[in-house]
Amino acid sequence: MKPGKKRRKALVDSSACVACGCCVKVCPLQAIEILRGITARVNPDKCVGCGKCAAECPASVIRLQEVEA
């Protein structure tokens, strides 16, 4: 992977997450888990930024953020 290339990763706003787990169900790479019933967390190593979780999230608290690859 070229250094400096931007990639998109899902990011959960944990303070507003209701931990319903809708995102977990739609993630094609099993990159999201619900931590101890409190919030969802994305594993950035697995996330490819497809955005399915962000679209599914009923509270719309997941957004895609550009990060350095």
């Binding site: 209701v18 931990a19 319903c20 101890r36 019933g37 719309s60």
Partner: protein, 192 residues
Amino acid sequence: MKKHWYDYLWIASLLYLVLGFFNILFAWLGLLCFFIPLIIAIVWGNKGYCNRYCGRGQLFGMLGGRFGLSRKKDIPRWMKSKAFRYGFLTFFFAMFFLMLWNTYLVFAGAQDLKQVVTLLWTFKLPWNWAYHGTLFHPGVAQFAFGFYSVMLTSTVLGLITMVLFKPRSWCVYCPMGTMTQLICKARNGRSV
């Protein structure tokens, strides 16, 4: 993605609502939707019920998703605020205890059984066709009418927000979800 047995629990939720039209005493089964999430949260400290077993969530997900009965718009900011979620939980609790109080009054003989289902805490729908007597005290039936009112009301609210916002918008302000998350926070600590 591989389907599990629990991915079909929406059938149970749908069946529950249907059964309430035939015999109100089936409403008692709804207690499972109250106790199972609480037990999972208290014993295992997670929201396994919301995450896997909630048939109602699956039903909304299916109707709003596969059947397209949802605008799939963002829920308003205030509806996902802690103030609204905790406020709704408190209100729901208050209405629940009011229902328990009415049940108590029937058990105590101070009030007659009312064969009505109260929708949205306001509209009293005659529901006498679903009551065929009980082997037990009329109070048992009163609880069933009250509990079914709670379940039907929350389903209607969930359907409305499903259509207006995202399929599982109900999950954002579901009192059981809020309560189990609070239990998990208390049990596991606020920081993750």
